[in-house]
């Protein structure tokens, strides 16, 4: 276990270096920088601009800046956000929490729907329900989540049942703790629904094909031959085996969830990592972009790692040496 962990953590290092370097070069290729936007402002003199550029290290060569940034990151200093005028570390920490909350809730939401429906559909294969729900799954898979987010915003506007976007209400600070939680949940319902639906369809299809595959395997036939009831066969034998790939899926769907969350955040105006990243890209706030990319990547890698550990815990046939070999 510890050898596996160390190996995986060591593997992350070149990965993170590669990703941050590519992003850094990309952001440096953008003509102009945050400070050069200020040049359009007549009240700021060229001297001030030079001073700012020197202060933020924008006048130094690319490699020097990259290694300085990297050195800072090693000390948990992600740099200074030029547009928000605060340290990137604090900014990202608060935003990442919101994004993780959104992503995890949507994942749980889609599991809670996909697994039971997948079971029902697979057990009643080729029934009218199977056809209908499989069709619906395609439908759900194909709705772009930004479009669904717009539709839900429209629903919220017309019915008034849900808050119209935002992370929390205007009077959030004045609420008591219990109302605060209720307020957050109230604001999360629509985004979680939007983000969860697209994942649900894929998971449902996976569940269905898994069960259908396992239903015909030898140990299921043996279980039936022993005279076990259909209920026991499905829930104790088939289902437990069918759930394995879900654990792996959980790790790998994180990337999609983060990407999807960014769009949903942008449309529904949620204060998450994705919206932060978008703002940073728009205002050429290079250290904020770097911080967000790094944070997103770490979330993804840690998610994958946790999924692999969970897989070993769930499935006795899998051990750390076989997971590491993949």
């Amino acid at each position: 276990m510890s050898r596996f962990l160390i190996r995986r953590l060591l593997n992350m290092i070149p990965l993170l270096l590669g990703i941050t370097f590519i992003s850094f070069v990309a952001m440096s290729l953008v003509p102009g920088d945050f400070v050069s936007n200020l040049k359009l402002n007549p009240t700021i003199t060229p001297e001030v601009i030079h001073q700012l550029q020197a202060q933020f290290g924008l006048d130094q060569p690319l490699m020097v800046r990259y290694f300085k940034w990297l050195w800072g990151v090693l000390h948990l200093n992600f740099g200074f956000s030029l547009s928000y005028r605060v340290s990137v570390t604090g900014l990202i920490a608060s935003r990442a929490f919101n994004t993780i909350l959104l992503a995890l809730s949507s994942m749980i939401f889609s599991w809670m729907i996909a697994i039971p429906i997948g079971i029902i559909v697979a057990v009643n294969q080729n029934s009218i329900w199977d056809r209908f729900l499989s069709f619906l799954a395609f439908f759900g898979m194909s709705v772009p989540n930004f479009f669904l987010a717009f539709l839900m915003m429209y629903l919220a506007l017309k019915t008034g049942w849900f808050p119209i976007g935002g992370t929390f209400s205007v009077d959030y600070a004045t609420l008591d703790p219990l109302s605060k939680v209720a307020d957050r949940i109230n604001h999360l319902i629509l985004p979680v629904f939007v983000l969860g639906i697209s994942g649900t369809a894929g998971l449902m299809r996976l569940m269905r094909s898994q069960i259908l595959e396992i239903k015909n395997s030898d140990f299921v036939r043996t279980a039936r031959a022993k005279g076990l009831s259909e209920r026991v066969v499905i829930y104790k034998h088939v289902l437990r085996n069918a759930l394995n790939p879900f654990v792996t899926m959980a790790g790998y769907s994180l990337g999609d969830l983060l990407g999807g969350a960014a769009l949903v955040e942008a449309v529904m105006n949620l204060q998450g990592l994705g919206l932060l990243m978008l703002d940073a890209v728009r205002s050429l706030d290079i250290y904020l972009v770097m911080g967000s990319v790094l944070m997103g990547t770490i979330l993804l890698l840690v998610g994958n790692l946790l999924a692999d550990i969970a897989l070993v815990a769930v499935d006795p046939r899998v051990d750390f040496s076989s997971v590491a070999a993949e």
Partner: protein, 360 residues
Amino acid sequence: MNADAVIPAHLESAAVIEARASGLRSEWRLASYTVRFSAICLAIFYLLAAASPFFASYDPTYQNRTMPDCPPMALHLSAPSEWSHGLFYTHPMRMTDPALRKFTQDNSRRIYIHLFTRGHLFTTDADSEPYFMLGSEGLGRDLYSRIVYGSRVSMCVGLLGVLISFSLGITIGALSGYLGGTIDFLIMRWSEIEMSLPQFYFLLALAAVIPSGLSAVTTFFMIVAIMSFISWAGFARIIRGMASSVRSRPYVEAARALGASRWRIITRHIIPSVLGYAVVAATLSIPGFILGESALSLLGLGIQEPAASWGNLLAQAQDVQNLARYPWILIPGIFIFLAVMSFNFLGDHLRDRLDPSGAS
């Protein structure tokens, strides 16, 4: 060459054409209704993209300054006695509240809609008296015409992106799987980096590189290049896995024993054997490209105004007030949805057709 030789050749080609046509026909019969619907949808979209100036009713950049955010207009069938004026007509809309952009229909007047005139499928006599089938957007441009022109972007981005990322993925993957060793190791580590990226974040960072002053066509190609750059790795890994398993098959060993060169083995034996999978995966990856471009354009990092794309047409809806008052600006999203769904259905169908054993 005499006439006798020509006639059999001619007959043969006719037979081939007929066989091909009947093949298509039986394909059509095998397809479910959803797949047929998808095929028709895509055919229409590609037609719209290929002949946008004809299918659009107006110039997509022509601004009707007096009619911004006009709702979709109702279409009426003329009485037979008026067919000399036009088969269809609509009542003009007049802005009665410029602040809230409210329109009322002027039932006393009629604007006739003509088919196949002025080089369009259907249009009115003058651009200043328009028929907004799907309403107009904030600058008074015809939403329908902009959607038609926008189809060019969405329809091309998928094909072109898949073409690039697939040729990259299939070449690199086959090479990597067949050659093995250090090259394989390096390529796989690189693809791992690409695959563990939070793709959308990376896409945002890369899209920022595109200078804003470029023409729409150049921007389009840069977006395609960026998305292909991000997405080839997944294909390469799968193709590599298949290639390295094919490598030890008897027929490849036979080819090697016969003295075939590496290049010949890769191009003649390995790539053809993984092509079936590749076609399915290609079809199923097109939606990703369409969605990627739409998302970037929606967020203002992709295709820029005044050029139209289904994504940037939706950008107006980001303002809650616009969404509440002018809900028809969401219509481009339906087109994105239909395109994505059609490719999903078609890809799924292709998978079943090419590999009936794996069909569940």
